[in-house]
Amino acid sequence: MKVHLSHPTRDVVIQGPKRVADVFKELNLIPEAFLIIRGQDLLTEDETVADGDSIEIRPVISGG
């Protein structure tokens, strides 16, 4: 699957299918600090992302 990340902006490819919770683990990210978006839909941690999917992992933390 293709994963788009921000801060800094980059794309990575990881093996699917995978549960969202496992995507977070693989990328060493804390779920509380991010949203996972597929198309225009938010995904919860128990959902599975297929190998051919493209997802965005969007940070929710701002410095203000």
Partner: protein, 311 residues
């Protein structure tokens, strides 16, 4: 995962409440939490005129949208800091939101441009006066939001500070034992003295993740990009630490900040109020008349230095 309120698919789990919501129920939940905050903290009434400080980010645009959806009379102020690239992109988001969402509700956007006022953008300005950019930025934004709210007779000024912001700020203040700042961490700060607008934080019950999810669900087009000046900011370190604790023990952030507010309220009968403290420590600035502890306020001192240097 299913929504706990209806049969639909959930879009967000909220471990701190041991629940999950679909898009519609999340929207309802967030708006009800904001309404609850407004009432519980006596922030403002439907007749009051509210000035929302907007930046183009998720929190401030979401706050503006929710206040309008709840029927409040909310206008907004955007301060253009002149950060190359970033400011124009954030301004574009704010202007687009104002055009599409706010103006049809009869709401207005005001833009203040730092460069027109000071002769330089924030980064150059901070370099000239030898202060960290975030510190100069904070001084300018606090000053301009208060000035516009006060001069235009708004009843209250609202900012998009959320639970993560307040918990991180509290952690920073406690770690440094900056007790003098603790009193200013209330979600409602009174118009304690002539020249100060009342200030409120209606999102203090919501986490950043919940607000970001609300923005995505409700198609609020905000700037995801982080301010380039915030790189390495202490607040980000505190937020990261709190999120690690939250992952291990959901509800940590709300217990920390709301627990602080409970204690603050209990001690309010014995400790002097903020109004009392402000009335004994503040006086009008000799240049602009806004309240200050010094003869000339920090904003006017900064502008005076900048104007003698930028020629």
């Amino acid at each position: 995962m299913r929504c706990r309120k209806c049969p639909k698919r959930a879009v967000l789990g909220l471990p701190r409440h041991n629940t999950a919501f679909c898009g519609g129920c999340l929207t309802e939940f967030v708006r009800s939490q904001v309404q609850r905050a407004i009432k519980a903290q006596q922030m403002f009434s439907p007749d009051d005129r509210v000035l929302v400080a907007v930046s183009g980010g998720k929190d401030s645009l979401t706050l503006w949208e929710i206040l309008l959806k709840l029927g409040y009379r909310a206008d907004a102020l955007y301060v253009d800091l002149g950060i190359p690239g970033y400011s124009s992109r954030s301004k574009e988001k704010v202007e687009q939101f104002a055009k599409v969402v706010a103006e049809p509700c009869g709401s207005q956007l005001t833009i203040h441009t730092v460069e027109e006022d000071a002769g330089a953008g924030i980064k150059e300005l901070a370099n000239l006066i030898k202060r960290p950019t975030c510190s100069a930025c904070g001084t300018i934004k606090r000053y301009q939001f208060n000035r516009v709210a006060w001069q235009n007779h708004y009843d209250v000024m609202a900012t998009g500070h959320n639970l993560d912001d307040e918990a991180a700020r509290l952690l920073g203040n406690v770690l440094q034992w900056q007790e003098e700042y603790l009193q200013k961490q209330s979600p409602t700060l009174p118009a304690s003295i002539e020249g100060f607008a009342k200030k409120v934080k209606p999102l203090y019950r919501m986490t950043e993740r919940e607000i970001a999810a609300y923005a995505v669900v409700n198609r609020i087009d905000y700037l995801v990009e982080e301010c380039p000046m915030a790189k390495g900011a202490k607040m980000l370190v505190y937020k990261d630490a709190l999120n690690r604790l939250e992952a291990e023990s959901p509800g940590t952030k709300q217990r920390f900040y709301w627990g602080f507010l409970d204690r603050q309220e209990k001690s309010s009968s014995v400790a002097p109020s903020m109004t009392q403290i402000d009335q004994t420590t503040l006086q009008p600035c000799t240049v602009c008349s806004q309240p200050t502890t010094a003869g000339t306020c920090s904003f006017c001192r900064m502008m005076a230095r900048a104007k003698t240097t930028v020629k």
